[in-house]
């Protein structure tokens, strides 16, 4: 039998139904994989081996009941609440905190039959692009351990890339799913703002945060997204419709769709290997008779600034609740004010403090209009420009990250350089649009490079078709992960 950790979601379903493997065996295979690779990758803050095996046995007793994620081992970013299971946001201030409830997405994964295998590392409170801002550990890129996995959902990306989970959930506020997906060579999807309930996602920037899946390929990604998406009455900002069908029409790829690309991509600083794959993709699409328009992409000049004002402003308020009064860390002190100051001083890391300070500043009386109000205006403008653009095309194609993975430590001392690595991802957050990163090619150093697609508001189905089209074109997994032969076999297995 093939290695159990190599099956896709539908492939697993087939072997479960054919009784060729039990859920317990599959979960055990993933736990073995974790045991082998985790000591060097450090993707997990917590591996839930016992829970996962118990759940697997429970599923085995029932047998496959047709649920879409039956027996699928999934890892969860540690800013998603899991009832009775510590949820830390990789922050000392929440060390040991065990929520009394499951996030909606966790509930939905469980009810779809998934097995939660562990909680993954992140930049503290999802603030960062390298996973190095975790208070507990540094996660390493499975493609080269000297490199960062990206962030903030670096643990979730690395777990999938290293076959330590079949799929995983991350959260994306300014690129925190797509950028690590790109750097780790996996698929990462952020839906339309409001597509997935944020109930139980520990908030960073409420108006931008979206939960989304990581997977090895587009089809698995679509299946996980279908399971977690859809209206939730506990999140007033969710779109009031059920989850759309995302996997049914993948095979149609780019059929009938127009793609827009930047007319002036050369303007933006990026690694030559990224530039090259971007250009080649455009040529290949044209070669496949996909209409490609060169346009001015909205928000390229303004998104980063807008993002860091809005996100930090909201963060400064969202993170005010960590004060030592009710849960989490409390530093000893003689007065209330001192308790606040010491708890927050000792509990938060530098990057979190930096963002709270920036956010507090931009909301302060006398500065609000110059920063926050102005940023809201720019946001409205960017939204309008995207809307205009999507009247003429279906998808936008651009790189996910200007560079492949960077070395651990390389950007720690330069927050601005770190912030600028979000240049291609933040526009979709500002405009609330669905976007996905698909692994495209390896750099000369052997590090993955992802390409990104953005679709119009609510158009995840188109987005996934385009992503599938790119996946079929790049054949990244077949060429660089499994080898050509194994790849065919895997597809045949569906």
């Amino acid at each position: 039998m093939r290695d159990l950790v190599q099956y896709s979601i539908e492939g697993l379903g087939d072997i479960y139904r054919a009784r060729e493997a039990t859920v317990r065996e599959v979960v055990q295979a993933y736990l073995d994989s974790i045991e082998a690779r985790e000591p060097r990758i450090k993707a997990f803050l917590q591996v839930l081996a016992e829970d996962a095996l118990a759940k697997a046995s429970e599923l085995d007793v029932k047998g496959h009941d047709g649920r879409p994620l039956f027996g699928v081992p999934v890892a969860i970013k540690d800013n998603l609440c899991t009832r009775g299971i510590s949820t830390t946001c990789a922050s000392k201030i929440l060390e040991g905190y065990r929520p009394p409830y499951d996030a909606t997405v966790v509930e939905r994964l469980r009810s779809a039959g998934a097995v939660i295998i562990g909680k993954t590392n992140l930049d503290e409170f999802a603030m960062g692009s390298s996973c190095e801002n975790s208070a507990f550990q540094i996660t390493h890129n499975p493609w080269n351990e000297a490199y960062a996995p990206g962030g903030s959902s670096g643990g979730s990306a690395a777990a999938v890339a290293a076959d330590m989970a079949l799929a995983s959930l991350g959260s994306d506020t300014g690129g925190s799913i797509r950028q690590p997906a790109s750097l780790c060579g996996v698929v990462g999807l952020k839906g339309t703002y409001g597509r997935v309930s944020r109930y139980g996602l520990v908030a960073f920037a409420s108006s931008l945060d979206q939960i989304g899946p990581f997977a090895r390929d587009v089809r698995d990604c679509a299946l996980v997204m279908e399971a977690i998406a859809g209206h939730d009455e506990r999140d007033a900002t969710t779109i009031p419709t059920p989850a759309p069908d995302l996997h049914g029409k993948l095979e149609r790829g780019f059929e009938g769709m127009r793609v827009a690309v930047s007319a002036d991509l050369e303007k933006w600083e990026m690694d030559p290997s990224v530039r090259e794959i971007a250009a080649r993709t455009v040529d290949d699409l044209a070669g496949d008779s996909v209409p490609v328009d060169r346009v001015t992409l909205p928000g390229m000049e303004t998104s980063i600034a807008t993002y860091y004002i809005l996100a930090n402003a909201e963060a400064s308020s969202n993170l005010a609740r960590y004060d030592g009064v009710r849960y989490g860390l409390r530093s000893n002190s003689d007065s209330l004010l001192e308790m606040y100051e010491r708890t927050r001083g000792e509990g938060f890391g530098d990057e979190v403090k930096r963002r709270i300070l920036l956010g507090t500043y931009v909301l302060s009386s006398g500065y609000y209009d110059a920063y926050y109000a102005k940023a809201q205006q720019v946001k409205a403008l960017i939204c309008a420009q995207f809307e205009e653009l999507f009247r003429k095309c279906d998808l936008i194609l651009l790189p996910t990250s200007p560079t492949p993975a960077f070395r651990l430590g390389e950007r720690l001392e330069d927050p601005i350089a770190m912030y600028l690595s979000d240049i291609f991802t933040t526009p979709a957050n500002i405009a609330g649009l669905p976007a996905i990163s698909i692994p495209a090619e390896l750099s000369p150093e052997g590090l993955p490079i992802g390409m990104q697609l953005i679709a119009g508001w609510g158009e995840e189905a188109k987005l996934m078709r385009g992503a599938f089209g790119l996946e079929r074109m790049y054949r990244f997994r077949e060429q660089h992960v499994l080898g050509p032969k194994a790849g065919r076999e895997r597809h045949g297995g569906r």
Binding site: S206, S207, A236, A320, S364, Y368
Partner: protein, 496 residues
């Protein structure tokens, strides 16, 4: 009176807890009391990841208050976060409204010294209440989040109030309207109605002076006294050439004095910004019209109607319209056929007295009872000691001359005790009025024989003693004698 030295400028911010079934952003019950922290969930505890969802019932109630005070209801209003650190506020921000409130530009009218006064309202907005801090005897503080997330409306007046009396009247009539609408029980001691005062003085013709704030005013009396104290304090400072500092005063209800907080302690920058977890609140015309249809007749209009339709004096109309339930009760008695004036007399004299003495004998246990009952409608129910129909029957017996007034009162007491019909009690107690000449003459003759001194004085010209003789007859007849006829017989026998 000498020329006014200072003009007082007062504005009130009133917080009223709404009696919704559940809290404003979660489904926890919103009732007062309960084991500490028993009425909480991840949302009202502000746990990481929890999100607010708006309770539309609270919006409906806020709209009702807006319409009752003639406000413009905003088609789109926006919730905002008010950021401040305090342990009774679990998110360390309060969800409130800031630059786009639900209701704007209203007016509250009320009577003051026999004239209609109006105070303009700046705004009414919806927000969440905070928890309660309890400072433990053994040191340290405890916090109860049961109240956290209970819906509040904040009603902000324009600075148009000029005296402590006017402030107090404004608050009384605001409370009356809230209770008429059935949206707030107005209990200031339990904190379901709270009042903060902004106050400044100026010499006539000068621009507005620096204002100070008084918080913690937990009774109408406290509002009046607190304002009086602060006016005196500010006037003293200004007279001696000093400058008013922008401070916050806390009313100490035990010591009946103001405690001034250092201004720095309250120098907040709340960093308001739109609440990203909630959509803007859109209120369409249909919603507004639905609430307009639910508006009851308001106190001022009802008092006017009572004066005109039932020909009642202003005082009586005011008393009867103080509570919607009482006014409803009165009108039920009238519609059952009672003469409006007699009905007013009986409701004010007997019913209200009975309720008052009942409340006094219940004593200290009353608030505890309320906490246990805790049902929303109970807060507004007018619990009459006698059903309106029964009272109308009693009034009919009296006005028809079947029983005397005093027998009527006796029967009333029995009705309260037994809930039997007045006729049954009348028969049981044998209280039918005696109007027969023979029996009356006998009683009068007996009384005359027993009171030689009074008879002499009466005959000497002290005819006011007639009442004395009638009273004696009533006593002798155990209240059954027809007093009018008895009086005539006394006259006849003494003068004839």
């Amino acid at each position: 009176m000498a020329a006014v030295e200072f003009e007082t400028v007062i504005g009130l911010e009133v917080h009223a807890q709404l009696v919704t079934k559940s809290k404003v952003f979660c489904s926890c019950p919103a009732v007062y009391g309960g084991e500490p922290n028993a009425q909480t969930c991840p949302v009202c505890l502000g746990l990481p990841g929890a999100l607010p969802v708006l309770n539309e019932e609270a919006v409906s109630m806020a709209i009702l208050m807006g319409l009752a005070t003639g406000c413009r209801i905003a088609p789109r209003s926006v919730f905002a976060r008010k950021n401040y650190f305090y342990p009774d506020c679990p998110k360390n921000y309060q969800i409130s409204m800031y630059d786009k409130p639900l209701c704007e530009e209203g007016r509250l009218e009320f009577e003051l010294d026999g004239e209609i006064h109006g105070v303009a309202l700046e705004r009414i907005h919806l927000e969440e209440d905070a928890g309660k801090l309890i400072h433990a005897e053994e040191g340290g503080s405890l916090v109860d989040f049961n109240r956290c997330g209970v819906p509040l409306i904040e009603i902000v007046s324009k600075p148009e109030i000029r005296s402590p009396e006017e402030a107090s009247r404004y608050l009384v009539s605001l409370r009356q309207v809230l209770r008429y609408l059935g949206i707030c029980d107005g209990n200031m001691e339990e904190g379901s109605l709270r009042c903060d005062v902004n106050i400044s003085l100026r010499r006539p013709g000068e621009p507005l002076g620096t204002k100070t704030e008084i918080k913690n005013l937990n009774s109408f009396k406290a509002v009046e006294m607190g304002i009086r104290f602060e006016i005196e304090r500010q006037a003293g400072v200004l007279r001696s050439g000093g400058r008013i500092e922008q401070v916050t005063n806390l009313w100490d209800s035990g010591q009946k004095k103001l405690l001034t907080m250092r201004s720095k302690e309250y120098a907040h920058d709340y960093r308001y910004f739109p609440e990203p977890d909630l959509l803007p609140l859109d209120v369409d015309g249909a919603w507004i019209e639905k609430m307009r249809g639910a508006l009851p007749e308001l106190p001022l209009a009802r008092e006017k109607r009572f004066r005109e339709k039932y020909n009642l004096p202003a005082y009586d109309a005011g008393v009867l319209c103080a509570e919607r339930g009482l006014a409803d009760y009165y009108e039920t008695v009238v519609s059952a056929g009672s003469d409006p004036k007699l009905a007013a007399h009986w409701v004010m004299r007997e019913i209200l007295e009975e309720i008052k003495s009942g409340a006094e004998s219940e004593g200290a246990s009353a608030p505890a009872m309320r906490a246990v009952e805790s049902s929303v409608s109970d807060a507004f129910a007018f619990r009459a000691p006698v059903a309106a129909g029964r009272l109308a029957e009693l009034i009919a017996l009296v006005s028809g001359g079947v029983i005397s007034n005093s027998a009527g009162r006796e029967i009333f007491k029995e009705m309260v005790r037994t809930a039997e019909s007045p006729d049954t009690i009348r028969e049981k107690l044998n209280l039918t009025q005696v109007s027969g000449a023979k029996e009356l003459e006998q009683w009068v003759a007996d009384v005359i024989a027993e009171s030689p001194d009074e008879v002499a004085r009466y005959r000497g010209g002290k005819t006011q003693l007639l009442g004395f003789f009638v009273g004696q007859v009533m006593k002798k007849s155990a209240g059954k004698a027809n007093p009018k006829l008895a009086g005539e017989i006394v006259k006849k026998m003494l003068e004839g």
